[in-house]
Structures are given as structure tokens and as C-alpha cells.
């Protein structure tokens, strides 16, 4: 079962960009934010979704699996590290294979960059920068028990479906309690939202 990790609750996200700014301050990617904050239903609602690396466990880190240079390593505690600078050849395989759309690439520097769960902080028991500053708790760092103690009645899901594949992740999403047995849809096949086709 999950240890300390990030729990994402998009329902609480107010799109304030605090996590993005905090991520930018983090030492492991100084000056660059690894958090994606997307306004998923722009013009229709204020819904926003913060995305950090989900630290896929099974299939184990697709980004690392497709990497031709063995540049992405997974630590013993399940944290998928960003690319090793000496190995990464900047091919962008990881960028396009990640089902969650997480890694970024700097084509000039031939270097991939992604959220590594603030490894410089979490390895020492500190919460990642994003979770520390999030004003609404949309990004929560701790154990499931801690989360549930604070928010009675919530459940978490750590499995996503993409087409016919299920991806189990180290980072989980908060779901209403009655939906917990249901893996979270990953968005593939492309879905409709509120009865409207979102492909276009």
C-alpha cells in the first residue's frame, strides 16, 4: 500500500498557480516549474487540474521503459527520477510516451526534465514544495490515513485506465467515497464532457 505520497484533488484546485511558483523555487529544477496547471474546460467552467508526475508503478514508469539511453531511474522507494543529465540524449520518447503528459524537454540542452517528487526534500521527510504551499489542499502530501483523518469520507484511486491498459501509480487522486472501486479514467479513448465532444 502507498506510503507518504501526493494526493491530488482537482475538485479543490482554484487555479491560483501557487504550486507552480513554489515548484519553480525548488532546488532541483531552479527557475523552472515542473507542475502543469491546466484549465481543462476553459470558457465553460473554472475547473483546473494540477499535474505532477504520477510515479507510475505498474507498468513501471513508461517514460523510463521507452528511454533508449536508460536515463530515467526509479529509486528503491518508487520515485521516478528525472533524466540523468549525462545520459539523456533529448529524444523526447519519454515526453510522448507518458500517458499523463508529464515530462518536459529542453531541445537546446538535449535534456528531459520532470517532477521527481522533490526528491531533495522528500528523501529527508519534508513535503514537496507544491504540497507545502497549496492553499486549498488540492495537493496533499502524507499517508492515506492522514488524508482521511483530515477529510472524513474521502477515498483515493491510484489506478487509471487508458484504453485497455490500467496504470497503477505512486501518486493518487482523491475520489468520492462511492467511486473508489472504479479506476479513474485516463482520458483514452477520448471522452465527451457534459455531453459535449471535447475532441475539437
Amino acid at each position: 500500500m502507498m506510503g507518504r505520497t501526493i494526493f491530488i484533488d482537482p475538485g479543490r484546485c482554484i487555479g491560483c498557480q501557487a504550486c507552480v511558483s513554489a515548484c519553480r523555487e525548488c532546488d532541483s529544477h531552479r527557475g523552472k516549474s515542473m507542475i502543469h496547471l491546466d484549465y481543462t474546460d476553459e470558457g465553460q467552467s473554472v475547473a483546473s487540474l494540477p499535474t505532477v508526475c504520477m510515479h507510475c508503478e505498474d507498468p513501471v514508469a513508461p517514460c523510463a521503459e521507452v528511454c533508449p539511453a536508460d536515463a530515467i531511474l526509479v529509486t528503491a522507494d518508487g520515485v521516478v527520477q528525472q533524466a540523468d543529465t549525462t545520459r539523456c540524449i533529448g529524444c523526447a520518447n519519454c515526453v510522448n510516451a507518458c500517458p499523463f503528459g508529464v515530462p518536459k524537454i529542453d531541445l537546446g540542452a538535449k535534456l528531459q526534465m520532470k517532477c521527481n517528487l522533490c526528491y531533495d526534500r522528500t528523501a529527508y521527510g519534508l513535503a514537496p514544495m507544491c504540497a507545502t504551499v497549496c492553499p486549498t489542499g488540492a495537493l496533499f502530501y502524507g499517508t492515506v490515513e492522514e488524508l482521511q483523518a483530515e477529510r472524513p469520507g474521502v477515498q483515493v484511486a491510484d489506478t487509471f485506465v487508458f484504453g485497455s491498459t490500467e496504470v497503477r501509480t505512486g501518486v493518487a487522486m482523491v475520489v468520492p467515497a462511492d467511486k473508489v472501486q472504479w479506476p479513474v479514467p485516463g482520458g483514452l479513448p477520448v471522452v465527451e464532457i457534459n455531453g459535449k465532444d471535447v475532441r475539437r
Binding site: 475538485g11 475520489v175 479514467p185
Partner: protein
């Protein structure tokens, strides 16, 4: 298998190149043996590496683009240019930081120089003979053939005999910079492993410093401490050579893969084969590249490979939409 074949070939080359060991300097035997181990290790690791799905496909595509007719017709200069800017001058490192680029160039050229001297010398391919017994006129021979004659007291002569010292002088500041950076830069030290990240730098510095001390000892100390230093130097070098295929230094062998990758993308770009995201139309990558990645994903049984046809942002937005629709019912 491949490893054994490659080391066999190298031994053969050593024997022939040193004119049936006549030019082989037995004092350098440990170095030569380490060289053979190195060849074995690199060949072995290379085969393992290149058989993983991601690398295997890229490897094939890289060579295919190199030998394709398009490449010869449209971009005959692309490959040499990429090799020079990418492998030689490592332009991409400049985009990471200028200091890192400069430090890496120092290490790189220092090591290239050192390798060019050391390997042929320890394999008995190079010999320096003096026509008149004790100099100053020297001849440099490769595989027994005279290449050039020089005066050991001239500038060229000095450079010839101090090539390794020059290499050390290049490597020391470069490696020291990286060591210093690893100590103080939190970005660099995140997830850093002693054996992987620090040992190689320390090894480079030990080799260079002991190498310089050898010269120092022979010039200023009349050889004082020479033997001890020589052993230390040799141990460091042998250890490093054997370590190359298994640690951080393997990137030296892997880097050229990047040229293949770029050539592959470059050739497709020349033909305007760019793949646009299915949802927003932003270019994702070249078409053959996306196809190649999908193949890799299928090889790995990641059967959401059609997802590679959407850009990262659209993947996130679609997932967000799916979550809203099915999990949170659109915040109603």
C-alpha cells in the same frame, strides 16, 4: 560472445600492431590488459544496451537514415556537422550552463588527448626511437612505420613527451569544477550516488595528479617516490578503464546514439513529415519518430500507444475532462 570476439580482435591488433610484440613494452602490460578488459566490457554492455526495445529501434533507424538515399542527396553535410557540434564541441551543454560546458570541454579534450597517446603506446603501436642512440633526434613510428622525426629539445619534442601532462592540466580543473558543483549545487546533488556520480570525478583527478607528480618526480626529485607513484597511477588507470562500461563513463559510448537519433529526425524534417497532435494540431514530432515510438511502446506491451498521437497538454486536458465527467460531475 560479442565481448569475447571484440577482445580477441583487439589482442590480435596488439600483436600485429606491435610487430609481433617486438615493440611491446612489458612495463605497460597491466595497461594493455586493462585495455582488453575494457574492450570486452564495452562490447558486452553495448550489446545488452542495444537490445532493449527503445534503443534497438532507434539504433536501426539511425543507421537507416544515415545510409538512406535522401540523406546523401539532401544533407551530406548533416552528419559531419552533427558529429562536430554535438560530439566534439557538445553545444547542448552550453544550453545547460556555460560553466558546465567549459569544464566538460576541458575534461573531454584532456581525455581525448590522453587516450590518443596512451592506448597506442601501451599496445605497442607507437614507438619512439632515437637514430643517434641518445637523441636529441627522435623518430616516431606507428606500427613500425616512421611517421615523423623530431628533435626532442624542440617545441614539438617537448609536446610529444609531455602530452599526458598537458592532458592532466586540462582534466584537473574540469573535473574539480564538477566535483565542486556536486558538493554545493542542490539540483546536482539530488539523488546523487557516490559510486556513480563522485567516483568517476575522483578517479579522473587521481589519475591526472599522480601523472603530473610522476613528471615532477623525474624532473625535480631525481625520481624520488617514482615507483610508488607509478603503481598508484597504474592502479587508478586500470581501475578506471575497467569501470568505464559499468558506470557513468558509459555515456561516452552511448552519446553517439544521439547523433543517430538526430539524423533520423532531421531526415524526416527535410521531407516535412511532421506529426500534428490529433486534438490541437500542435506539432508533436516527426512522423517516422512517432511511428517508431509507437512500435517501441507495443514492444514493451504499453498498449496505449495511440496516446502518442496527442500532445502532452491535450493528454492532461482530456484526462481532466474525463475526471470531471465521470468522477466529479463537472463541479455541479
Amino acid at each position: 560472445m560479442v565481448g569475447a570476439a571484440v577482445s580477441g580482435l583487439l589482442i590480435l591488433a596488439i600483436v600485429l600492431g606491435s610487430r609481433l610484440l617486438r615493440n611491446f613494452d612489458s612495463a605497460l602490460l597491466p595497461y594493455a590488459v586493462a585495455g582488453v578488459f575494457l574492450a570486452f566490457g564495452v562490447a558486452y554492455r553495448y550489446t545488452v544496451w542495444i537490445s532493449a526495445p527503445g534503443a534497438a529501434r532507434l539504433f536501426k533507424q539511425g543507421w537507416r537514415s544515415l545510409f538512406s538515399a535522401e540523406n546523401f542527396r539532401q544533407a551530406p553535410t548533416a552528419l559531419p556537422k552533427m558529429i562536430a557540434t554535438y560530439l566534439g564541441f557538445q553545444k547542448f551543454l552550453g544550453a545547460r550552463s556555460h560553466a558546465r560546458w567549459a569544464a566538460h570541454q576541458l575534461i573531454f579534450w584532456g581525455c581525448v588527448l590522453a587516450a590518443l597517446i596512451t592506448f597506442p603506446l601501451t599496445w605497442g603501436w607507437f614507438t619512439f626511437t632515437s637514430g643517434s642512440g641518445s637523441g636529441p633526434g627522435y623518430e616516431m613510428r606507428i606500427w613500425g612505420f616512421k611517421i615523423l622525426g623530431f628533435d626532442s629539445l624542440s617545441f614539438i619534442g617537448w609536446v610529444m613527451f609531455h602530452g599526458l601532462d598537458l592532458a592532466a592540466v586540462l582534466v584537473i580543473p574540469g573535473a574539480s569544477y564538477f566535483l565542486w558543483r556536486r558538493m554545493k549545487d542542490r539540483g546536482a546533488s539530488t539523488g546523487q550516488r557516490f559510486g556513480y556520480d563522485l567516483i568517476p570525478l575522483i578517479a579522473l583527478i587521481v589519475i591526472s595528479v599522480t601523472g603530473l607528480l610522476l613528471t615532477f618526480s623525474s624532473i625535480f626529485l631525481h625520481g624520488g617516490g617514482y615507483e610508488f607513484l607509478a603503481v598508484l597511477h597504474m592502479v587508478a588507470v586500470v581501475f578506471t578503464l575497467i569501470y568505464i562500461p559499468f558506470g557513468k563513463f558509459f555515456h561516452i559510448v552511448q552519446r553517439p546514439a544521439a547523433v543517430g537519433m538526430q539524423l533520423f529526425k532531421y531526415t524526416a524534417r527535410q521531407d516535412d513529415e511532421v506529426f500534428a497532435c490529433r486534438r490541437c494540431g500542435q506539432p508533436i514530432d516527426t512522423e517516422p519518430y512517432v511511428e517508431n515510438l509507437r512500435g517501441t511502446m507495443r514492444d514493451l506491451r504499453l498498449d496505449f500507444d495511440e496516446w502518442a498521437e496527442y500532445c502532452p497538454r491535450c493528454k492532461r486536458v482530456l484526462r481532466g475532462s474525463a475526471y470531471l465527467t465521470h468522477v466529479k460531475k463537472g463541479f455541479k
